[in-house]
């Protein structure tokens, strides 16, 4: 007998209504990657220590590896796939490319989501606020300062547009 429990996940993901009958009791990152194929959500540690799985849940940055998927039912999730597209990048994605705030790219989706959340609640952050906002996102490749500068540049772009 199959004792797997199923659930219907009804929520908004990247601006689209999603209704999916699937296995319950998993983490939000598993639902996003395995069921919705949103591979931009990265799993660096799976234990809440690296920030690479950061997504927005109702506009707040959360670690999708520590969030039970059921918590997202009826709510709105935004992943890196939802903030811009290849021809229309988000200003922070543009800035990351221009400043060189990316190397292997594994931390980048989480880093950008933390930056996007910061810029939404604080459009003109100072350096210390930027550092605080991304201090839960580990990066092994860059020296962080190009990422910090990317967020500064994005803030400028967003306020002048």
């Amino acid at each position: 007998m199959d004792d797997t429990n199923y659930i219907t996940m009804e929520l908004t993901v990247n601006g689209r209504r999603v209704s999916k009958h699937c296995r319950s009791g998993r983490r939000l990152i598993d639902f996003l990657r395995d069921d919705l194929n949103l591979m931009g959500v990265k799993e660096g540690c799976g234990e809440g220590e690296c920030g690479s799985c950061t997504v927005l849940l109702d506009g707040k940055a959360v670690l999708s590896c520590l969030t039970p998927m059921e918590k997202a039912i009826g709510h709105e999730v935004i992943t890196i796939e939802g903030i811009g597209s290849a021809n229309r990048l988000h200003p922070l994605q543009e800035a990351i490319i221009e400043e060189g705030g990316i190397q292997c790219g594994f931390c980048t989706p989480g880093m950008i989501m933390s930056g996007v959340e910061l810029l939404a609640r604080n459009p003109h952050p100072d350096r210390a606020e930027i550092i605080a906002a991304i201090s839960g996102n580990l990066c092994r490749c860059t020296g962080y300062q190009k990422i910090v500068r990317s967020i500064e540049q994005a803030a400028q772009k967003m306020s002048s547009s």
Binding site: G44, C45, E47, E49, C50, G100, I102, Q103, C104, G105, F106, I130, I131, A132, I134, S135, G136, N137, L138, C139, R140, C141, T142, G143, Y144, Q145, K146, I147, V148
Partner: protein
């Protein structure tokens, strides 16, 4: 009390494997009829930007747009063997292989262009998307027209490159001879503050000068310098891999501590360009050279601040308090500055 210190770390680094060990890279390049180029490279992209650099090299050689070059890399089903990406050798060795492949294909393009322009092949140049003879630059052929003709006339559209970077080795008795094909140099300054009460060391600033030969892509080079400094800072202050009977005891980010954005001081990347005669456009390997001097610079800054040398890393508060004699030093690790000739040679 807060003590203040400045330290220097310097290094010389042999690029590649050296000492007669096999050290080669292979590359292929193809010009499509529409003028776009594909480069096959065995060396992999880790985030250091190798694919970008290889695109730049091919675009430079053919005088075309960077956007018209595509790189297929590190896929054993498709790409030739180039050995590992290590020893800071990829731009140097793989870059040279790509350069050779491009120059091999250019021979064919040059002879076809010479036929079409009725000029001497040795006068043919590739620049700004056009191919022309220096004797009559007005009379040019667009690069994509030339490659179109290459295919239409059934000429060779593929170039091959194999670059051998092995050295002859040194004399076993005298240690003199040909150790490495290229040497990179780097020097860094670290400025720190040491809190004698808590044992905490804060790095205030790092200046990192790295001899890269030629910065093919300065932004990527800066990225390597800044990232290297942060890895060296982690090694100096935080990272401590504990292994017992072959098992990592601290294999979590909560137990093996990496620097976060909050731990990193302003870093000044200084690009020094002393061209290497064999490197592609003079470039040298520079990735590890950007990491190596940071840890000694920070430890020397600690010694400058408190007069004592820490013999092992990381300089966590506990070890600093041992060093200062605030905590009993069971491990006898504190070494007085007088015990070491200063400077140390």
């Amino acid at each position: 009390m807060k003590l203040h210190g400045i330290g220097v770390g310097s290094m010389v680094y042999g690029v590649g494997y050296g000492f007669a060990r096999p050290d080669f890279a292979t590359a292929e390049v193809e010009a499509a009829a529409d003028g776009s180029l594909t480069v096959w490279s065995g060396a992999s992209e880790l985030g250091q930007g190798l694919r970008t650099v290889l695109c730049q090299i091919a675009a430079q050689e053919f005088g075309t747009d960077y956007q018209d070059v595509r790189v297929v890399s590190a896929d054993s089903e498709k790409t030739p063997d180039s050995g590992p990406v290590s020893a800071s050798r990829s731009t140097y060795v793989q870059g040279n292989a790509v350069l050779q492949a491009c120059r091999d294909l250019k021979e064919e393009l040059r002879s076809l262009a010479a036929e079409m322009l009725k000029a001497d092949p040795s006068t043919i140049e590739f620049s700004g998307g056009y191919v022309f003879s220096t004797t009559n630059p007005e009379n040019s052929i667009a690069f994509h027209i030339l490659t179109g003709q290459l295919h239409a006339r059934g000429r060779r559209s593929h170039g091959f490159g194999w670059y051998d970077n092995h050295t002859e080795d040194v004399d076993k008795e005298t240690s003199q001879g040909d150790a490495y094909s290229s040497f990179a140099w780097a020097s860094q300054l670290a400025e720190i503050e040491l809190d004698t009460e808590t044992g905490e060391v804060t790095v205030l600033r790092i200046a990192s000068a790295t001899d890269v030969g030629k910065a093919i892509n300065p932004k990527l080079v800066e990225g390597q310098i800044e990232g290297g400094a942060v890895q060296g800072l982690g090694f100096a202050l935080l990272e401590d891999m504990k292994v017992e009977r072959g098992v990592f005891k601290n294999s979590h980010f909560s137990t093996y501590i990496l620097p976060t954005a909050a731990d990193v001081p302003p870093i000044d990347p200084i690009i020094v360009e002393v061209p290497d005669p064999k490197g592609p456009y003079g470039a040298k390997g520079m990735a590890e050279p950007a990491t190596i001097p940071t840890t000694p610079a920070i430890l020397n800054a600690i010694a400058d601040a408190c007069g004592k040398w820490l013999k092992s890393t990381p300089a966590i508060p506990e070890n600093i308090l041992h060093l200062l004699g605030v905590l009993p030093d069971e491990r006898k690790e504190a070494l007085s500055i007088k015990d070491i000739p200063y400077p140390p040679f």
